[in-house]
Amino acid sequence: MSTEDKANEVSAEAQDQEPITPPADPGQTGPGQGAGGPITLFFILGLVASLVLGWVIFPQLLYSHKEQPIQFNHVLHNELVDDSCESCHFFREDGTYSGAPKLAQCIDCHEEVQGESEEEAKFVNQYVLKDREVPWLVYSRQPACVFFSHVAHVKMGDMECVTCHGDVGESESLKPYEANRISGYSRNIWGKNIAGIKFNSWDRMKMDDCSECHVRNNVNQGSVQTLRGGCFVCHK
């Protein structure tokens, strides 16, 4: 606010000086023609321009857009499997989480083209037949410095997938993957909202979002190493 006050001061000063300046062209009239007019105008111009830059242009510049290699339909697949998300995104015997399915799993059904879908044909021809893994872009990939255990949350903590990942299971297509051009992270970590405002638990996946839940449920807030402060809980 002090900036604004100062700006007002300046424009007031400018208005004071107005009488000294003789009118250059009698044809020009109106408030914009005084020295105070342009100053206010330019302030507003600057303000609006920067607001537009910060809220509209910057987010577009900051993130790159990339389409997934295959448009996958979660709804369609979800109807066909018995064990919902875990049918494909399963836990291994040692408790580790498998993440995005590997080709070997998909081949169980898609050794040949099953239906009419172009995307499926593309998947079979470009990946299955060539024995290439699909380079899925993982929206929720945390950086290398974060230790996250799915089994601790889903199995031991009885959390639902939706709590962090949202309604991915109800999507019929995959939205473009957006990566932060500076940090390289997926946009889902900061969240879609550039101001970092979240409405749902799955809107953002920053450190504070993890700790918010840990504090609320009073779990794992201190690490074995420090006994206080939870740094080493996630940053091993």
Binding site: K6, V10, A24, T40, G46, V52, W55, R92, D94, T96
Partner: protein, 770 residues
């Protein structure tokens, strides 16, 4: 779209400004018609600043930049994927350890010791741990290569094989099949046997194994017990280890098995005595460190025997009932190795010798071991016989806590290959290295004699040389002479996976898969007291255009045609291996190893396989050997007043495999500082020579010189200096090449009169201020 509207609005405002309309720069300093003065501009900037503060831009940028600074591209990021383990066997030394290789996805991330494995039970050494660096490191030979005018060219496997086949066919038509020779790191196991078989049916007797203490131990067991066997050491069940310079915790025999054995021995209250002129790690961990004059260890063993016999401390039951030739042996040691004589030879006081003899003979299960350091150099047969006789005196042979003769593996039982006239003719030729006949009739291989034979001939008697699992150009003494011999050989073929010194001097490289990419059998674990076979299993698909040496030999044979091809009827090496291991194959796949459950030391206690069926302290063969005298040190004492000896450390690989970066990084700065090797010098010696600690000096031997740094070490005998084995590589990558000096390049061989093997333990040297 709000965006379009807002942008449109601001554009409208700009375009209403005359200066913008006319395409001129606005005059900011009081041109009234423009209406944009300094104040307006400032106002715009302030408005902009105010606006920016009301957007997420500064906060978001700050956060992103902070995160960016945590994501440097050189920070290693762990692989993601499924963790799996593959059981395999380490081949980086002859230790035969079982390993469990951890993979994440398709990437090898760690090598661990295999729990429950009889040799290492979960333990692993630093070289074994560094295995992934040998797989993914930059020093791999990635495809077959041919040297043309000193430059390497990548060639196809077909043309590489065709080239060898043409040359071999040519020699065969000229009746010179015996001019093919092969240097192999091992003479057991399917790959070595395939190589040997190829040479046999082709018509060459010149299969040569690289030397080590195994040569002398085999001979000692053969001469005294009549068996072709490997020595096994039951360290953990012994209660007194008397080591004649053996680096029990410095890579001697199977390193991890020896670590475990030594720990078990200590936990049970067992004792250790180390006879060595230098305070090695093993000496430091021992109860007694006896520093004898270097090279007189064998004399001390004979001296101890004379005390034990004189005092009647020997095992009467064994000596009277199970041994022969004791009277002659007794006469030999009593006459030539009295306390006074031995005291003079070794530099030890008489009472020290007597006390040591009583200590040894007084233990319940005393075990004497031999072979200096890690055992890479064969040494003198007389030393081994003298030490082995000590074990016989106390009756600690073929029983728990003693030395066990482990029979050679017999699972390779291929039908003999048919030999045509050319092959028979070639096989009747004497061996190029002179082993197995004349003076050296009991010796199997004499690689150390090869350079001289080649260098002294007008035309090289070796026309084609195959080198597999060995790096003779680095590991053999007198490197310069070896290099000269290699230059004289028209076609040198290396099967190495790495660009080592031998590859650099070769004409063709046919790179083998590394051990994490192939199947192979490991037919023994050195020093382990039971017959054991380990299986090497592929953990990843071969990364490069390499080929299994076993397959290459089979393919070469098949291309040669005739009887040579007929002896190699296998489709592939893997098929050959599976067929050979037959009923052991499934156990090997499942457990990673196969151990002879029926073999026990007690089964071995019955009779010896000598003519007398007894342990022979002396026999006509033993008596025919030259009498004991300490091995001479090469070099003239007046020019070279010091004795340079090599030492071994677990943190350096000194055999066929060069040290991976992890080892070099782990080296103490008393061994290597920057690119300089430190030479251990007793401060008293250094003072006489005017040398200062950690300062440069020139180390000169009759064979060469090297720039070194001085390291004052109280643990080394005055007049003796030491450098480690495993440094001074000229080949390999930037992580290893050019670091320190190679002991082998400074040393020379001393032929053992009894065996022809290299008996040298040191070389004369001088140190001068640099």
């Amino acid at each position: 779209m709000p965006t379009g509207r807002l942008t449109g609005l601001s554009l409208t405002h700009y375009s209403s400004i005359p200066a913008f309309q006319q395409g001129q720069s606005p005059n900011l300093y009081g041109d009234d018609s423009m209406k944009i003065d300094r104040r307006s501009f400032l106002s715009f900037v302030i408005g902009g600043a105010a606006g920016t503060a009301l957007t997420p831009l500064p906060w978001k940028l700050t956060d992103d930049l902070a995160i960016w600074s945590q994501n440097w591209p050189w920070t290693p990021v762990p692989e993601k994927g499924e963790t799996t383990y593959v059981k395999s066997t380490c081949t980086l030394c002859p230790g035969g350890c079982g390993i469990s290789v951890r993979l994440v996805g398709d990437r090898v991330v760690k090598i661990e010791g295999l729990k429950g494995h009889p040799v290492n039970d979960g333990g692993v050494c630093i070289l074994g741990l560094s295995g992934p660096q040998l797989l993914y490191g930059p020093n791999r030979v990635q495809s077959p290569k041919k040297k043309v005018n000193g430059k390497w060219h990548t060639i196809s496997w077909d043309s590489a094989l065709a080239e060898i086949v043409e040359k071999l066919g040519d020699l065969r038509s000229k009746g010179q099949t015996h001019s093919l020779a092969c240097i192999s790191g091992s003479d057991r196991g399917t790959v070595a046997e395939l190589l040997n078989r190829f040479l046999t049916v082709y018509g060459s007797p010149n299969f040569i194994r690289t030397p080590s203490i195994q040569d002398n131990y085999e001979l000692a067991l053969y001469l005294t017990q009549g068996v072709r066997a490997l020595p096994g050491f039951n360290i953990q069940d012994s209660d007194f280890i008397l080591s004649f310079g053996s680096g029990l915790i410095e890579g001697w025999e199977s390193p991890v098995y020896m670590f475990r054995g030594k720990s078990a021995l200590r936990e049970k209250g067992g004792r250790m005595g180390q006879i060595e002129p230098r305070l090695s790690k093993t000496a430091a961990k021992s109860d007694r460190w006896i520093a004898v004059k270097p090279g007189t260890e064998g004399a001390l063993a004979l001296g101890l025997a004379s005390v034990i016999i004189k005092e009647g401390l020997f095992n009467r039951d064994f000596v009277e009932n199970r041994a022969a030739g004791f009277a002659e042996y007794k006469k030999l040691v009593s006459d030539g190795f009295s306390i006074d004589a031995v005291s003079k030879m070794t530099g030890l006081d008489g009472p020290v010798i007597v006390a040591l003899a009583k200590d040894f003979a007084g233990a319940r299960k005393p075990l004497a071991i031999c072979g200096r350091g890690a055992g890479t150099s064969p040494g003198s047969l007389q030393d081994f016989l003298a030490v082995h006789a000590l074990n016989a005196l106390v009756g600690n042979i073929n029983r728990a806590g003693g030395i066990v003769a482990v029979p050679e593996p017999d699972y390779i039982d291929w039908p003999e290959g048919e030999m045509d006239a050319a092959a028979s003719g070639g096989m009747q030729q004497p061996r190029i290295d002179g082993a197995g006949s004349g003076k050296y009739k009991s010796t199997r291989y004499l690689l150390n004699r090869l350079p001289e034979v080649v260098n002294s001939a007008q035309d090289s008697p070796v026309q084609v040389l195959l080198v597999a699992g060995a790096n003779p150009l680095y590991a053999m003494a007198d490197t310069e002479a070896v290099a000269k011999a290699f230059e004289k050989i028209p076609l040198v073929v290396s099967f190495s996976s790495y660009m080592d010194e031998t590859c650099a001097a070769a004409d063709l490289i046919l790179p083998n898969h590394v051990f994490l990419e192939r199947y192979e059998d490991v037919p023994f674990a050195r020093g382990f007291p039971q017959p054991i076979i380990g299986l090497v299993q592929p953990v990843v698909e071969p990364l490069y255009n390499t080929r299994h040496t076993g397959d290459v030999i089979i393919q070469l044979a098949q291309k040669m045609g005739g009887t040579v091809a007929a002896a190699f009827a296998w489709d592939s090496y893997d098929a050959c291996l599976e067929e050979t291991l037959a009923d052991k194959w499934d156990t090997l796949l499942e457990d990673g190893y196969w151990i002879d459950a029926e073999f026990s030391e007690t089964a071995q206690t019955q009779e010896f396989e000598t003519d007398s069926s007894k342990f022979e302290f002396s026999s006509s063969d033993i008596n025919a050997l030259p009498v004991y005298h300490a091995v001479r040190v090469p070099g003239d004492e007046s020019f070279y007043p010091l004795l340079l000896v090599p030492y071994d450390t677990m943190r350096l690989a000194s055999g066929y495999i060069g040290s991976p970066p992890f080892l070099v990084k782990a080296l103490e700065n008393t061994i290597l500082k920057g690119n300089d090797v430190l030479v251990e010098v007793n401060p008293a010696t250094a003072k006489n020579l005017g040398l200062s600690d950690r300062k440069y000096a020139t180390l000169t031997t009759p064979r060469g010189s090297a720039k070194v740094k001085i390291y004052f070490f109280d643990g080394i005998m005055p007049g003796v200096i030491a450098i480690p084995r495993g440094l001074g590589h000229t080949a390999y990558d930037k992580f290893l090449a050019g670091k320190g000096a190679n002991y082998n390049a400074l040393s020379e061989t001393v032929e053992d009169a009894a065996t022809g093997l290299d008996a040298a333990w040191g070389v004369r040297a001088k140190l001068t201020k640099a």
